[in-house]
């Protein structure tokens, strides 16, 4: 049984039909990537899984539990964390306060050790623990957003375009972190426009186009496929 199962979801913004029957699954321990161009509906899918949006039909099943009607703040308690597009850290709060917010659903006694774990993974954040998050560089903000999501000890970590707007060297760093998290056993659903880098780290991948999944396969298969080469890898 898959950890996460998305079954034929249709999601609308008013009358705009943004996601048109998407199905996929993520198994325990996998890195699965969802790639596609601007406006394909990738963020809409993640926000539907997080409960911020509701599918008109179809279902999201996590660990055999249908998340229908589960409020977004409860979804976190089920073990799903999302690093949203554009990071959306709390810019006026300190680095450490951002991490504390990530642990909002966790018992008080686990917050300190959780923060220590994040600092171990992201030493830069430790140096800047008292700094206001809005004054961090873009790369540091992305690390904070990822650290903040890890604070809830998620069973599934969803990342929405973590490399967006970052310099190549930082993009590389972010993907290294994804590999490390994968090696440590974290299950990851990665949304990316950077198909090259995403396919390289992914066990499996899905390609989305205008609200539908048009291709799927292992990372290596998609990397080699003509369609992907043409549309996303400039090959």
């Amino acid at each position: 049984m898959a950890l996460l199962q998305v079954n034929d979801i249709h999601v609308y913004y008013g009358s705009i039909h943004a996601v048109k029957g998407v199905s996929f699954e993520v198994n325990q321990g996998e890195v699965v990537t969802l790639i596609g161009a601007n406006g394909a509906g990738k963020s809409t899918v993640l926000n539907t899984i997080s409960g911020l949006l509701h599918p008109r039909t179809g279902s999201v099943v996590f660990e055999d539990k249908d998340l229908k009607g589960v409020q977004p703040h409860k979804v976190v308690e089920h073990g799903l964390a999302q690093v949203p597009e554009g990071r959306r850290i709390f810019l006026q709060m300190s680095v450490e306060e951002n991490l504390e917010m990530g642990a909002f659903t966790q018992p008080g006694s686990t917050v300190e050790p959780g923060i220590a774990d994040v600092y171990e993974r992201f030493p830069r954040l430790k140096e800047r623990r008292k700094q206001i998050a809005g004054t961090l560089s873009g790369g540091e903000q992305q690390m904070l957003a990822m650290g903040r999501a890890l604070m809830s000890k998620p069973k599934l970590l969803m990342l929405d375009e973590p490399s967006m707007g970052l310099a190549p060297i930082l993009v590389e760093q972010i993907f290294d972190i994804i590999k490390e998290l994968h090696a440590a056993g974290t299950t990851i659903l990665l949304v990316e426009q950077n198909a090259q880098a995403a396919l390289a780290v992914a066990d499996r991948a899905y390609v989305m186009e205008t609200g539908k999944i048009t291709l799927s396969g292992t990372g290596a298969e998609l990397m080699a496929s003509d369609e992907v080469q043409k549309a996303y890898l400039g090959g």
């Binding site: 977004p72 703040h73 976190v76 959306r88 810019l91 006026q92 306060e97 961090l136 809830s152």
Partner: protein, 292 residues
């Protein structure tokens, strides 16, 4: 001595504005709306205390506590019934609703308690007389200033260090991201209204102790002035409400004493306009740029 007297009166009035302004600024910070009914919650708090101590003979402390309980419930009910359904609505619709709630409270008060002014009995009486009687400070004044300081300290600690206080700040910045952290945005907003309304009850009792005329419209002008104080200090900022409230009280009393009683309100609003021209976000309002 009259100068010193004016300073003290100004600080005392300013403390009342500051306590009221906290309610405006916290609610604005999190719900991004102007709760124009806030001033009328003050009036309800004063009436509750008036009847509790006058008609039922409760101790003033019990009267204040009862007023706080009633206002807390009132504030959360108003939020749940009137504002919550409008969370996605345009801000103009919310503003009009808030004005409607304000009228509803004023008219209900008139229906229940009549339009005739009641004479409020101060919760404490007497005062200090120093410098051979040249300077008189009433205990109400002292109580008001001390209450304001205590409230500021406690509230700052709660918002700065408390888990729910931090959640309030997170919600005020980004509700979607706060939800992704597992924060229940609706109950956080409710809590903010509850705190603001409990403070409104305290402000109502203190205000009517200093200016003992109580009628259904008692809350409206102080409400608007406290709102001005909140904007003055930087809407959304808790220290801003404190500073804005105090300054506004002092400016008002000085304008009354040295310029003109009739023009004092005009001068207060002139000061607001000048501050906003120089610093559009208010004295302590801050703007943090977003980095990419």
């Amino acid at each position: 001595m009259s100068f010193l007297n004016n300073v003290i009166t100004g600080i005392s009035l300013g403390s009342i504005y500051a306590i009221i302004a906290l309610g405006y600024t916290m609610v604005y910070g999190i719900a991004k709306m102007l709760n124009f009914a806030h001033g009328d919650v003050i009036m309800v708090g004063a009436y509750v205390c008036f009847f509790a101590t006058g008609s039922f003979g409760l101790h003033p402390v019990a009267g204040v506590l009862l007023a706080m309980v009633v206002c807390t419930i009132l504030g959360t009910v108003i939020e749940g019934l009137a504002y919550k359904p409008l969370r996605q609505a345009p801000s103009l619709a919310v503003l009009i609703t808030a004005i409607g709630v304000s009228w509803f409270l004023q008219n209900s008060a008139q229906l229940l308690w009549g339009a005739a002014p009641k004479v409020f009995t101060p919760v404490v009486s007497g005062g200090l007389s120093i410098f051979g009687g040249q300077l008189n400070i009433s205990y109400v004044t002292i109580l008001t200033v001390v209450s304001c300081l205590v409230i500021m300290v406690l509230l700052s600690a709660f918002i700065g260090k408390g888990k729910m206080g931090k959640a309030m700040r997170a919600c005020s910045e980004d509700k979607g991201a706060a939800q992704l952290m597992g924060i229940n945005v609706n109950s956080t907003i409710s809590m903010t209204f509850a705190i603001g309304s409990a403070l409104a009850a305290i402000a109502g009792v203190l205000m009517c102790s200093a200016y003992p005329t109580l009628m259904p419209t008692t809350g409206s002008l102080p409400g608007i002035k406290a709102f001005t104080a909140a904007v003055f200090g930087g809407i959304g900022s808790v220290p801003g409400a404190f500073v804005g409230g105090l300054l506004l009280g002092i400016i008002e009393i000085f304008a009354k004493a040295y310029i003109s009683t009739d023009l004092s309100d005009a001068i207060v609003f002139l000061a607001l306009i000048i501050v906003l021209l120089v610093k559009p976000s208010g004295l302590l309002g801050k703007y943090v740029p977003e980095k990419v």
